[in-house]
């Protein structure tokens, strides 16, 4: 079922990719952390003429990126970020990567140092089907956006939009823009209940 979904999705760019394309300015320098096979970077390169670099831990996906003419570094996030000087990129992108990171606070701090702006997106654990399953069925949520059993799948951090807002407030990170959507469509109100995905644009912080 899920593989069918991803196949039918390939021709048209994903909704979150569309939004990121709109945010990123033409000709900017972009670092995509956890870039996968480079779908987003390729799109940004074609549409926004960015100078992009990807960071990817999976060897097979690295081959795929190179075959698409992208610059990609094989390795994990911790090793990948520390080497860059302050404010090396106009944008650092963590597109649905943060929930798979062991120390997201540390990584976010580093992305803010390296990037002038940071684009973060993640699956919202406060989305109503997830709440419903946990509350009424007493089971860890398994939804379209969070399709994995608790014992498999890459996600190790489960957070809600409210969690992230609180975190940014506590850390004094400036949120420049916020986008919420469900099933590929924008969500205007009650986002923490109705959105399956959130996307934030943060102001990079040199002194962080």
């Amino acid at each position: 079922m899920s593989s069918k979904n991803s196949e039918s999705r390939t021709p048209a760019p994903r909704y979150d990719h569309e939004i990121i394309c709109r945010i990123v300015k033409e000709g900017s320098r972009v670092l995509d952390i956890g870039c996968g096979e480079g779908d987003l970077l390729k799109l940004l390169q074609e549409r926004r003429k960015v100078e992009g670099t990807g960071l990817e831990v999976n060897e097979e996906k690295v081959y795929e990126c190179i075959s698409r003419g992208l610059h990609v570094l094989h390795g994990d996030i911790d090793a990948g970020l520390a080497d860059y000087p302050d404010q090396s990129f106009d944008y650092v992108i963590l597109n649905e990567t943060m929930q798979e990171i062991h120390k997201p606070a540390l990584v976010l701090k580093e992305t803010m140092r390296v990037g002038k702006q940071v684009i973060v997106s993640f699956p919202n654990f406060g989305h109503w089907p997830a709440r419903f399953q946990l509350f009424f069925r007493g089971r860890a949520p398994k939804t379209l956006k969070l399709p994995f059993e608790w014992y498999e799948g890459p996600n190790i951090k489960f957070l809600t939009i409210k969690d992230f807002n609180n975190f940014c407030q506590a850390m004094r990170y400036t949120i420049l823009e916020a986008y919420y959507f469900a099933y590929g469509h924008p969500v205007k109100f009650w986002a923490n209940v109705r959105a399956d995905t959130a996307l934030f644009v943060l102001n990079g912080n040199k002194t962080a």
Partner: protein, 388 residues
């Protein structure tokens, strides 16, 4: 004599060529302060140079390699060139698209000027009077060859191990001439462990009574010493796992251990064979000179740091390492990646999972083939668009 069938993806029958450059008074100034000339370089080329001269790739060989990188000299040849898996029609370095050049490094013994060459001043082999050279000196000599061939810019410089060091050196010494570089299984600086292994090899040669302070060209050469040097080198090119799988503790032509100094284990026999066959194609003095050049290699030397050394580099990079390579482990490649990142230079890096140790880059390897082919394809496309 048995004639082999030359495979369709081979460059076929190739011919080695020689050119003599740096003829006095235009000798090559070396890092040591000495001068060397005339210099003969042995080289081979595969594929065709375009009229725009925009498709030339320089392949750089490792310690025991030479200019015979691909193809066969005669239909009776038992083996093709050392990187035949990577160079040919449709291969990683596709000779249908690219013009490939490979030359024997100076200090070598396969046709380029080295310690076994005749010194025109004395009309005797140089022996230990040959000046000590560096990786950069090798690259300077290659630059003379590229100029002689009339090629203004190299689309790519590529090689593994010592070849990778030369590729790195090319991007630093002649930044305007290099569009891209593929350093494989290599380092920007020879580590204490690297130097230590080389020193054991050198001491084995020097301890051989036949070495005679390098003056043995009229008598028996120090083959025992050179064979031992090759044996220690060969161990460093393999991995624990590769050795275990290939030899384990299997015995060589016997039922039980001998309880004396006879060859008991297969791995012993294999190393002896490798050592002995090496002495038939390699000169002991060349081994001394080239391992010294390797040990002197430190790209950051004279620049303060590696990042500073790479500051003016114009090339883009594909850096490849292998997970089981303990001679030049992945961390050494990552150091190069780090310095390139700090300079904002375009770089891709991949650590290929492999059990074959340092030698992985020389063995059949679909991952490496794919990376190089795809990278070069995009580099060439970009370069042509840029030039037009």
């Amino acid at each position: 004599m048995k004639t082999i069938e030359i495979p369709p993806d081979s460059v076929g029958i190739v011919k080695e060529q020689f050119v003599t450059l740096c003829v006095p008074p235009h000798e090559l100034a070396l890092d040591s302060g000495a001068k060397l000339g005339p210099i003969t370089l042995a080289y081979e080329t595969y594929g065709e140079l375009t009229p725009q001269k925009d498709n030339a790739i320089l392949i750089l060989h490792a310690l025991s390699g030479d200019h015979h990188a691909a193809g066969y000299y005669t239909p009776n040849d038992r083996k093709p060139g050392w990187w035949d898996i990577a160079i040919g029609p449709g291969k990683a370095f596709d000779t249908n698209r690219f013009f490939i050049i490979c030359s024997n490094c100076i200090g070598g013994c396969r046709g380029s000027t080295g310690p076994s060459s005749i010194n025109p001043k004395t009309e005797k082999p140089y022996g230990m009077s040959f000046p000590f050279i560096t990786i950069r000196d090798m690259v300077r000599a290659q630059k003379e060859l590229i100029d002689y061939l009339g090629i203004p810019k190299l689309l790519c410089v590529a090689g593994g191990s010592m070849g990778g060091m030369q590729a790195l050196e090319w991007t630093v010494t002649y930044p305007e001439m290099v569009v891209s570089a593929i350093p494989i299984a290599t380092t920007s600086i020879h580590s204490a462990q690297n130097i230590a292994l080389n020193e054991v090899g050198r001491q084995a040669i020097i301890a051989d009574p036949h070495w005679n302070n390098g003056d043995y060209y009229d008598s028996e050469p120090p083959s025992r010493g050179l064979a031992v040097a090759r044996m220690i080198g060969h161990i460093s090119y393999l991995s624990d796992k590769a050795m275990h799988e290939r030899f384990g503790r299997r015995l060589q032509d016997r039922e039980d251990v001998s309880y004396n100094l006879l060859t008991d284990f297969q791995v012993e026999s294999y190393l002896q064979y490798q050592g002995n066959s090496f002495t038939r194609r390699f000169d002991a003095n060349s081994y001394l000179y080239i391992t010294k050049a390797l040990d002197y290699f430190d790209l950051s030397h004279g620049h303060g740091s590696l990042t500073e050394a790479l500051r003016d580099v114009k090339a883009q990079f594909l850096i490849i390492s292998f997970s089981s390579d303990w001679l030049y482990p992945s961390y050494q490649s990552r150091e190069i990646v780090k310095a390139l990142k700090q300079n904002g230079i375009k770089v891709s890096f991949c650590e290929i999972k492999s059990d074959n140790g340092h030698d992985s880059f020389l063995l059949k390897n679909p991952q490496q083939t794919r990376l190089i082919r795809d990278f070069l394809s995009h580099v060439y496309e970009e370069h042509r668009a840029h030039v037009q």
